[in-house]
């Protein structure tokens, strides 16, 4: 890994001013479990001169339950902390499952929930290490076409992508989409709050290099709703999702009154299965309906040359998240 300057920011203001001073040549670091890999492999054309540590900013790792039932999670909360939090365990089992599904205990002890939401894609063309004959240029890096379109795309998008078919690898994002979370971002222009779905674009997140993801806000969950998070991987720990599904279902008298289904690793962004949700709302969910909804969710998906199998797995996971 090449050398860089390292700063410990003591406050958000100091962090923002440090990044400004470096004029685009610095990166923020939290747990570092994703960024250090990016730097070691030197995958990006521009290597930062400085790394600004935001873990040293106090107060950004708190988990709170407000009186109205809203839960806020400081973006610097470690994944292990999120998964072990009594508040989260009580109200947000899908998020517990998702946080617990990330990587390994060591990484969950280091990695933050903010970092998990912001992590860069795992596309193996994009991640190809520079020192082994030169990094691979691609559409996502601003040069040339997406190589996965004609290459080995078994882990790529089955739901299209504008120019780039790499998928969003985050597990917690999928649970948070189902939980209808909002994200607070702070930057030179101050704070803004956006729905989590708006945080993701086809080419990653909307977070600018001089902005920090500060807080995750989860509105009061539907009372007595059922929450499920399922992740399909080849091996048990470590692996990134081949497909993940998070569902939140509220049922009254056996009738589905509300439902949210989020799909992960199927597209460049998390995907809400709106049309499947519509089929379920107002009906009693049985296996047949769950299968129909799963079929509806993947309608219009277009697999690439090597990943039609992901459609089958997606359908199965959706069905199981509804009727298990």
């Amino acid at each position: 890994m090449k050398a860089f300057h390292h700063y410990n920011a003591r406050s958000i203001d100091q962090a923002l001013s440090l990044i400004k001073d470096h004029d685009g040549q610095a990166r923020f670091i939290a747990g570092g479990t994703d960024l250090l890999g990016v730097l070691k492999d030197d995958i990006l054309p521009r290597y930062p001169l400085a790394i600004i540590n935001i873990k040293t900013i106090p107060g950004l790792d708190e988990i709170e339950e407000k009186k109205d039932g809203t839960i806020t999670i400081g973006a610097l909360s470690k994944l292990a902390h999120v998964a072990g939090s009594p508040v989260i365990q009580k109200h947000l089992p899908a998020l517990v499952e998702a946080a617990q599904a990330v990587a390994t205990p060591e990484i969950r002890n280091m990695g933050t929930i903010g970092g998990n939401l912001c992590q860069d894609t795992r596309c193996w063309y994009y991640r190809y290490p520079h020192q082994m004959g030169g990094r691979i240029q691609c559409f996502r890096k601003g040069k040339g076409p997406c190589l996965a379109l004609k290459g080995d795309n078994r882990y790529h998008s089955i739901a299209g992508g504008k120019g780039c078919v790499a998928v969003c690898p985050s597990d917690t994002a999928i649970a948070l989409v189902a939980l209808d979370a909002r994200i607070v971002i702070i930057g030179p222009q101050g704070e803004r709050e956006i729905p989590i779905m708006d945080f993701y674009t086809n080419m990653g997140t909307i977070l600018k290099p001089d902005e920090i993801l500060k807080t995750i806000i989860i509105p009061p969950v539907l009372a007595e709703s059922k929450q499920i998070f399922l992740k399909f991987t080849l091996r048990k720990p470590i692996d990134f999702a081949v497909v993940s599904v998070a569902s939140l279902i509220k049922e009254e008298d056996g009738m589905c009154t509300d439902v949210r289904i989020a799909l992960g690793a199927v597209a460049p962004t998390p995907v809400r299965a709106y049309s499947a949700e519509d089929m379920l709302r107002g009906n009693s969910i049985d296996t047949a309906l769950a299968e129909e909804a799963a079929q509806q969710a993947v309608k219009g998906f277009k697999p690439l040359s090597m990943n039609a199998y992901k459609i089958e797995i997606t359908k199965t996971l959706i069905k199981r998240s509804l009727v298990q």
Binding site: M132, G133, L147, D152, Y309
Partner: protein, 761 residues
Amino acid sequence: MEEYSVIGKRIPRVDGRVKVTGEARYAADYSMPGMLWCKMLRSPYPHARIVSIDTSRAEKLPGVKGVLTGKDFNGWTWGWMPKTRDEPPLAVDKVRYLAEAVAAVAAIDEDTAEEATELIKVEYEELPGVFDPEEAMKEGAPRVHDYVKNNLSWDFHMDFGDVDKGFGEADLVREDRFETGRVITGYLEPPAAVALWDSGGITIWAAKQSPYFVYRHLAACFNLPLNKVRIIQPFIGAGFGGTKNDSLAGDFCSVLFSKRTGRPVKFVYNMHEVLMTCRRRHNMIIHNKMGMKKDGIITAMQSKVIADGGAYTAIGPLTMYLTGSISTLPYKLPHFRHDAYRIFTNNPIGAAMRGHGVTHTRFAAEIQMEMMAEELGIDPIEVRLKNAITAPYETINKVTVHTCGLKEGLKTLSENPKWKKRSGGSPPEGPLSHGVGISGTAYLGGARQRGHQSCGAVVRLCEDGTIDYLTGATDCGQGSDTVLVQIVAEELGLGVEDVDIKRVDTAVTPCDAGSYGSRVTVLAGGAARNAARDVKRQLAEVAARNWEVDPGDIIFKDQRVYVKGEPEKAMPFRKLAQVACYAGSGAVIIGRGYSQYGIEELDFDKGIGNAGTSYSFTSQLTEVDVDLETGFVKCTDMVIAHDCGRPLNPINVEAQNQGGAIQGMGQAMYERFAMDLGKTLNANLADYKMPLSTDVPNIELIDIITDDPNGPYGAKEASEGSTVSSPPSVVSAIHDATGIWFKEQPVTPEKIVMALKKKRE
């Protein structure tokens, strides 16, 4: 049977404590004052002509002490056989695989060396590459080596009996195409070394599984006599064949840098270099044809093997030999024809790996045999029992088997409740389908290559009765140090704590062919026994003189020496050592021994004869649960009935059989290098999926004792056998669960779920 005191006991590993506490030093742990770091510049193209290299900017960088290019080695190349020496330490005229080393830098620290590599300017003329062996064989395909037609790296042919006659006698003939994947050897410790050139010649502390290969390579490359090349072995973090049984760019460059600078030079490959440039298992396409009678008797087999050899030959000729020469085990084969082609491509180099050569063709034959048995309505174990050999046996290509526990192993498994409750394809109630599979395979132990194959041992008696034991055999993690110490202790009636095994050092330890082909226990073990017996003979003579009895009546047991039938004539071993060493003007007692090969030479061109001293037999039952809706497979249980002759250390044998089986399961279910035009896309251990501890099934091990006459204390090999038995057993289980035969490894969920979908439609 003789009662042993140390042999056959569950003795903890002699290297266990130093490894667990971190005291054991590996090659990358070595460092010296004034040491330089060596880094490679690697090619961005899989196939390109090198037009020019400008190293001037790198040389000017402060801290850089030297830069090397291919020309600095004066055209020297190395390879496994005289006629296959095609690999240069650094690429000279052209690069033949992506990330081949083109230049090297030595600098005062690692960062400076790395920075300097980026300042080297190489002008390339990119050439069209060829990445698929079947494409590469075609007329007009780009040539990887200009002088090699159709990219044929090596071919090997066997023809025994009359296959046409055999197929004519068959009631059923099948032809199938099988494929085995390109997989990593999977050691955790990357290649590393510290090299020092001084007036004494070369000293190198290198992570090598078989240091005596490198010893010869360095002597040849630098034109030094062998007594000026000293390889000192650190502890080794696994090998599994291939890379650590060979030399690599880092070795040659570090030595040459040290020669030029007079300073020690170190290199450590990073994981990307390991996964992209080091030797990997060949992937092979096997076109297999088998004939069978209605009753399940095999009448003939014909195999055509096409192997992706990558850019250089390496040990490929032996791989090709093993794909065929062991195909005649463990089932009777009256007619057999084998045509194997190793093809150059612009991929990384294919070489030896645990289960060398055999795993590919045995997978094809096992699965095909079971497919045919299924067509004929014959039980999978029954078809194996019908065709299995029994010892003594000589195959049509004169492989001689003295002991064989295959039938006993298969019968044991057939009585296992796990086999008896096998559903045999009845559909499950939920999405989870349970499957049970079987395999019965053979592997060679005490393997031989061409050339020097002997092992030596020296046992030195210290005057206090303790033992210094010198061997040239390397324990790269398999546990051979413990077994060899047990052998010396057993012969002298001592405990393992009385024997100290020294690290391999080519200046001190006797020459040894290497740790490959499951040969250490069988051959280095034989040498250890003979050397210990030499000491025992010398001591017995002293004791016999002392007591005026026959030396043959002296017994060594429990750290004591006594006369048979005269218990009052006894003394501690320590006392006898003192008497023997101090008698007269003093004596120095050294025992020496070497392995007795005792088998005729093999015919490497025709595939006739024994490539091993003895043969192990493995019967394996595997249970899986397959999720029919996602294709996910959980391998839950394995039962392995293994004939290793006699386990000399049951803990080691168990660990080796478990490790081999899991490695085999990895390549059956998970592992493959994802390649795109010569680029390895998944060169990290998150994307390249070796099984993790949580993926490992429960493994029950059963020893089938056969006491082979050619192994010390009856021992044969353990570990490579289960690497071979595991893939067909796992794939047979997946078939039992899904009703589908998968013929290409790895059998991943993506293949399973799509095959099931197709089956439903």
